[in-house]
Point group: C2
């Protein structure tokens, strides 16, 4: 459904949010180990998210990544996905056709558009806060 990069992005953001709620800044190393992802690859993804104003990075000793507490609820999964995978999900059609004539859609159009818009809505309505706090019970799931 999403690219590997995007999955890491979501998991990492979730972990950072969880720690930021307790005022902990976390290092790249810690994040990668916590979500079981390749360190350097994760670095690029976090960098991208930082450039997209989704999280903040701090260099130097005691540096790392964090998210402003008050923003955790306004950051939606859709923002993360868009920053990493772009808007491919929203645009292309299921069959990968280049463009589409809305006046004479193929027989699948209605159905696909419905499902895709459900997904979109879900991503837009689900905040990082929701995901992070929703799993405080079984935190280990981020490792899988």
């Amino acid at each position: 459904m999403f690219s590997k990069a995007c999955e890491y992005g979501i998991k990492a953001s979730t972990y950072i949010a969880l720690q930021s709620l307790e005022m902990n800044r976390v290092s790249l190393k810690e994040i990668a180990s916590e979500i079981n992802s390749p360190i350097a690859f994760t670095a690029k993804i976090l960098h991208k998210l930082a450039k997209n104003d989704i999280l903040e990075s701090v260099k130097g000793p005691y540096g790392g990544f964090q998210i402003k507490k008050e923003r955790i609820d306004s950051i939606k999964l859709a923002h993360i996905v868009a920053a990493i995978d772009g808007d491919d999900i929203y645009n292309g059609c299921a069959l990968g056709l280049d463009e589409c004539n809305a006046l004479q859609p193929c027989p699948l159009h209605e159905k696909f558009v419905g499902i895709r818009s459900d997904l979109k809505k879900m991503l837009e309505n689900t905040s990082l806060y929701e995901v992070a706090t929703g799993l405080e019970v079984g935190l280990t799931f981020l490792k899988r």
Copy 2:
């Protein structure tokens, strides 16, 4: 959403079905040109579909691909997708986690499972006949 191979597979099957309804057997060349796909790559995909009993291939002069008229309605998109992409869509979770504890699902589980099962249902309920005949008006869409 689907792999490129899968997209070609759906488009090709649709075209073959459309022609088979009129008792025309179509060649690889014709198919590839009709759906705008790389010839050799398309060959592999069609071959795979043939091995999965989704379509029939005939070698030699006047050979090509076809689908038994009476089967066109019982072949569902799900069959094609499964033959090419396997069952990845149905198994993995949105976050790409290896396994999942249904007893203590992450906060996204309900939502994702719902959307995914909608997609699954749609693929299982949509037959090649439906797709092929549904677009007889604007056939050129397969080129895009």
